[in-house]
């Protein structure tokens, strides 16, 4: 039986996950305007304050590629085969729309929060 503190923690984690889901997609698409392979992308996002584990990133990359938003190719680097990802043309168009939407939501949220205060 979980106590109320544990339930609160679980609830927060679930809500955080929902909040992060959409943001991660935008962040990954935006960062892949430059070519990266998975590990360097993960490190770069981490350095910028958006940690993402490999179990989340790689399935996301595959999904975005299947949707045609990313293009990938296997190439050798440092004597190891790596899969490099880059934003596709369609991905760029979608990213533009997502960023516009993001700004609209952000502005609305700012107004809502200011009004609430």
């Amino acid at each position: 039986m979980k106590n109320s503190t544990q339930l609160d923690v679980d609830l927060f984690e679930n809500l955080k996950l929902e909040l992060r889901r959409g943001c991660l997609i935008v962040a990954v698409l935006a960062h892949l305007r430059q070519e990266h392979y998975g590990y360097t992308l993960r490190k770069a996002l981490d350095d910028l304050g958006l940690a993402i584990d490999e179990g989340t990133l790689y399935p996301l990359l595959r999904r975005l590629e299947t949707q045609g938003l990313l293009a990938s190719e296997w190439r050798e680097e440092n004597k190891r085969n790596k899969r490099f990802y880059k934003l596709s043309r369609q991905g760029e168009l979608i990213l533009q729309q997502l960023l516009q939407e993001w700004e609209t939501i952000n502005a609305s949220l700012d107004r809502i929060l200011q009004e609430a205060q």
């Binding site: 998975g38 584990d53 490999e54």
Partner: protein, 341 residues
């Protein structure tokens, strides 16, 4: 790196065959890069414990692989509420009465206990489980098929709000017409019941000469009218105080409990029919007597099961009415959402 290879092999096992090589190569490269980074920052190779910790952080192989597999569900969120509703309806409408009847037979039918000695008494449960699994399985299959063809189900997209059920408003009072009709029926029942002692021969018809009721049942002849009397009293009070809606639910609960007690007591008086005085029964009539008693046993058990359900329903209604009254006195009567806003 043996641990890493074992880890990747375990992840591979859960992946779709077509994706295995691609995903394992990418995931393996990521983990190797992590290991190299850690080793360069420590200035030495990772020991086994550190490698174990790194792999544990990456996640259980099945969980990691699960993230690559497209999300699938046998019954999706659209149909799931309906699926749950149907399962509940089957459980409460069929399986629960089955259990009640079995308990009734075990408690009140010595003949049943005698014919199922020891563990044989639990024999019907094998039938129950196979029945339950068959029903739930069949329902699940039907819903899984519906889920598969959901895109073709048009009624979910072509619905009309005007066809939705009206908002059920809790009754503020018991209708006087309902009370008057209820009283009339109760009086009719009492008159009919009391006439049985005088005109019983007419009701039994051609079998009256052969069979008669077990004399032990006579004790319960008049008490049978107690539940009806309780309801009559409630109907009389509600004629004068129709706003006492809780009284109806409470009186029905009380009446159910009394009826349950009476029927449970009657069920123990087996056989219900015995050969009539001075009647010489031939083999055919004796067989008919056994069958009639068996039919009566089953009928009484079904009635007991029905009363048990009624007790639960009316007890729930009583609690709801009392809570509604308590809530109503604090917050005013419950209103539909559109009026409350």
């Amino acid at each position: 790196m043996e641990l890493l290879d074992r880890y990747l092999q375990a992840v591979r096992f859960w992946l779709l065959r077509a994706q295995q090589n691609d995903i394992i190569a990418e995931l393996g490269d990521d983990l190797r890069s992590q290991i190299e980074d850690r080793e360069s920052s420590l200035g030495r190779p990772l020991n086994e414990d550190e490698l174990v910790a790194l792999l544990q952080q990456a996640g259980h192989p099945m969980r990691v692989a699960g993230r690559y597999v497209p999300q699938q569900s046998l019954i999706g969120p659209t149909l799931f509420p309906l699926y749950k509703f149907v399962l509940k309806a089957v459980a409460f409408g069929y399986l629960a009465p089955w259990i009640l009847v079995w308990i009734g037979m075990m408690v009140f039918m010595p003949s049943y206990r005698a014919s199922h000695p020891g563990l044989a008494l639990l024999g019907p449960w094998t039938h129950f489980w196979s029945l339950a699994f068959m029903l739930f399985g069949a329902i699940t299959i039907v819903f899984a098929v519906l889920e598969k063809f959901q895109a073709r189900i048009t009624w979910l997209n072509t619905w009309d709000p005007r066809k939705l059920p009206r908002v059920a408003r809790p009754k503020d009072q018991v209708s006087r017409v309902e009370s008057i009709f209820g009283l009339a029926f109760s009086i009719l029942f009492i008159v009919w019941w009391l006439s049985l002692s005088r005109y019983g021969q007419v009701i039994f018809g051609p079998i009256a000469g052969f069979f008669s009721l077990n004399p032990a049942l006579r004790v319960w002849y008049l008490p049978v009218l107690v539940p009806t009397s309780i309801v009559m009293l409630q109907q009389c009070v509600n004629l004068l105080r129709p706003q006492w809606t809780w009284l109806r639910a409470a009186a029905l609960s009380l009446s159910d409990c009394v009826a349950l007690f009476i029927f449970v007591s009657v069920a123990k008086i087996h056989p219900y029919l015995i050969p009539a005085e001075n009647a010489n029964l031939d083999a055919q009539h004796t067989k008919a007597l056994v069958i009639l008693n068996q039919v009566l046993s089953w009928t009484i058990l079904c009635i007991i099961a029905g009363i048990c359900i009624a007790v639960i329903v009316h007890a729930y209604q009583t609690v709801r009415e009392v809570r509604r009254m308590a809530g109503g006195s604090r917050n005013g009567a419950a209103l539909p959402a559109s009026q409350a806003l």
